[in-house]
Subunit: 343 residues, 3 copies
């Protein structure tokens, strides 16, 4: 990649050595660390592109991340290479595709660890409620543009759907006394953290980076999974995440997670992010994001271990389990189709 | 200070510029940031002193922090100077006294912001369950030694008392749906966070630094206070904290806080730290630390604001309020006596 | 050191325990961590001194760091002591000399790890383009003042030279697909990272701390060195670095490194820092800093290993290699002279 022509072909590459604080005690880099780097690359390239014209200055805000799989574990001491490219622009949004490679700089081994697709919306710096127009990119062929348009329409539809589904109602997760709960139940492993938004969590314009939110979500999901399995657990995939409402500096974020489904070798955890503007309390608490994380459990040689089945209590948990199972089977079918297509 | 004579006069000085991440959005440095620096200075000087003899190598573990007041707010951009000195040694423990000064390097203004007293116990590196003997320090007068011995006996007694009071029972704080709760009640503001212990939180020997724990405690207490007042709040003081049980790498820490008492211009928040060894779950969850933090609410000129009175529900909350009031009156009386003595 | 007389003898001491994130996976503290602490000490003492008179308030901005050697590796768990002293003042600049000691608080061993000389320029807080006058310090002898003046003149000359040499042209490092490159070539190991400047990277006045930039430069140089050797590598020295242009909050920094020279036991890496004002794109990208880092490769007992020779491709690489060799021989000769003088 050449730096000098970055504006012409909008692409960027970030790389960074993985540190002890980026990983769990076994040395596996947290999925959340990777999600945060992916989003940083997307934010840089999106902001740069949307300011490449005259007119209002703006910052690219994360609107959506498509479902992404973690293909291989990454380890402390490896270098993560995150490369991002703008692949589609609509009137008011930018699609960024990101690839993540891990490189063991001692052995030279390289692995593709993630592919992700993110959607950004440019918000004016003068007036944060105003979405500005995105300068168009050039496509190498009409087919490429057409394919991008299809992806754009599909995600738009889904965003509208989840917005309606979520509503503004906050169904809080009650956190009962874990001591009295039976192992392997939903109540036993459910967890919640609060985080006071600090300056480093935010863009220059006072809103929490989408990547920071995803890192916290992964942290809670990981604790839920570890409480259930009591083994070394790693992020296997994240379902599409929609960011419907921005989170402002000075908010307290509550991130809660509960297990919804277990297969033989995987667990699905639903995560909620609620924002609470501490000082401007009249604005009220609101649900900012929700998502499903899938985790697997690994033995000492990084081979998948069986997952203890979830003990369901009550109809609601049963219903959520069935929905999780449907998502699991759908993803499995999709992976099979993708594999066949590649052959 | 010269390095070469550090062993002879056991003292150390740490200083650091305060950054945005050390402070709240108004620019006031978090009490927890200061407590963490105080403990780092204590740990360095304690470990250094206990290894100044031949025999087992050891690391100084924090056993207790005496009650400490935050005399002046500190701000981003100021330099914090933390100086620590060993003031008493018993057979198995070390008393460290720490002063914190804030310096505005632009105006040159300096203020004493904290005085703290910490007790450390040296744990053998070969066998972490073994407490080694502390080399004695030299006192400038027999009176000085006698005064130190009195402080030592007093804190020992208090440590035994709190150990019995806490017991091994974990009374968990239930976190009900805040939406349904009335403002200014205990249930409305109570909060809880979880933190997965990472490598940078620990000493080289795999135990969480006392300062890291205190920083998390201050974070939760601050969120409780902000939820109650909805204004800019700062730490005014911390009651004595006893560290009865160590927290190991790989644990999940749950830090919970609830308001116990309000006076006209202050709030008292009780904070609990529970450790949960995720992977070695057979060891069970245990209560590691408890403490009382006092917060005040400030206006834009950093003047104290009135605090909304706490709405009590039930006998238990009433009882805790009365106990908090007793602590408040006792500290007030003590401050008056100290003032008179100084005049 | 007593705080009260800090103005009288302009000196300061910073110390801090080295944590896992400060070091590589073998436990060697990164050279960049040390450079960042050195610069923090220099910035505190420089800012304090330049504000010790009446008149415009100011902040000391790093203008230049003289060549510095890393004399001994430092390890996780050791305490770094950084002491800084003002040794010369010209009309508009301040020379700060800094010593770094590592202390193993368990064994008591202490080692001098670095000596560094930094030049600061005080920028007015009212008008960041205005350089204010520096209050003079007192010298213990006329010889001391004369020697300082000579150092000042020498560095001034060199600053002017490098400014001309750098020009404003950005010769970008192209980052081709490493897969297709032959090991031990320049193209194989060259690397680049991107960093979005956050609030904690900056002084209160919105400019990146020189120490933050140096830490990123060392990180890239370390990746280049590790890619070439595939062993444990550590920073051996840094050539003089001139900071010609400030980097503002909100910029994206691209830091690129390429190997220029190898001797039997050392590698020289050239590092470029380019700043890109993301939002105010009309201001254009500019080269902020360049420098040469020297790395060595260590075995498990921390003994130097032979370095694989660099495979040169093309005339330009040959020319840069010869220039690197000249710097290497010059430094070697200087070290010999210094040694002889000390005997």
């Amino acid at each position: 990649m050449s730096i000098s022509n970055a504006q012409a072909t909008p692409s960027i590459q970030i790389c960074r050595i993985m540190r002890p604080d980026d990983a769990n005690i076994v040395g596996n880099v947290h999925g959340g660390t990777i999600l945060k780097m992916i989003e940083e690359a997307g934010c840089i390239i999106g902001t740069r592109h949307c300011n490449s014209q005259t007119g209002d200055r703006c910052v690219a805000a994360l609107a959506r991340v498509e479902r992404t799989d973690f293909l291989h574990p990454m380890f402390i001491g490896e270098v993560a290479h995150v490369s991002a490219e703008i692949t589609y622009t609509s009137k008011n949004s930018v699609e960024v595709q990101v690839n993540v490679l891990s490189e063991n700089i001692v052995t030279g081994a390289k692995k593709l660890t993630n592919k992700a697709t993110l959607w950004y919306v440019p918000l004016s710096l003068q007036n944060v409620a105003k979405i500005i127009e995105v300068p168009p990119i050039e496509y190498s062929s009409p087919e490429q543009e057409e394919a991008g348009k299809k992806r754009y329409e599909a995600q738009k539809l889904e965003r509208i759907e989840t917005k309606e589904r979520n509503g503004e109602i906050i169904m809080s997760i009650s956190l009962p006394d874990r001591q009295t709960k039976e192992p392997y139940t939903v109540a036993f492993s459910q967890s919640s953290l609060i985080h006071l938004v600090g300056p480093s969590d935010c863009t220059l314009y006072g809103f929490v980076h989408g990547g920071v939110t995803m890192k916290l979500m992964d942290e809670v999901a990981g604790i839920v999974a570890a409480r259930h399995c009591k083994t070394n657990i790693v992020t296997a995939s994240v379902d599409a995440i929609n960011f419907h409402r921005k989170i402002k500096k000075g908010c307290v974020i509550t991130v809660s997670g509960r297990m919804t489904f277990t297969s033989n070798k995987s667990m699905e955890i639903e995560v909620f992010v609620d924002a609470d503007p501490l000082v401007e309390a009249e604005k009220g608490k609101y649900r900012a994001v929700t998502a499903f994380f899938t985790y697997i459990s690994l033995d000492k040689e990084n081979k998948p271990l069986p997952v203890p089945p979830l003990k369901l209590e009550g109809e609601e948990e049963q219903k959520r389990f069935e929905e999780g199972k449907a998502r699991y089977l759908q993803n499995k079918a999709k992976r099979l189709t993708d594999k066949e297509r590649q052959q």
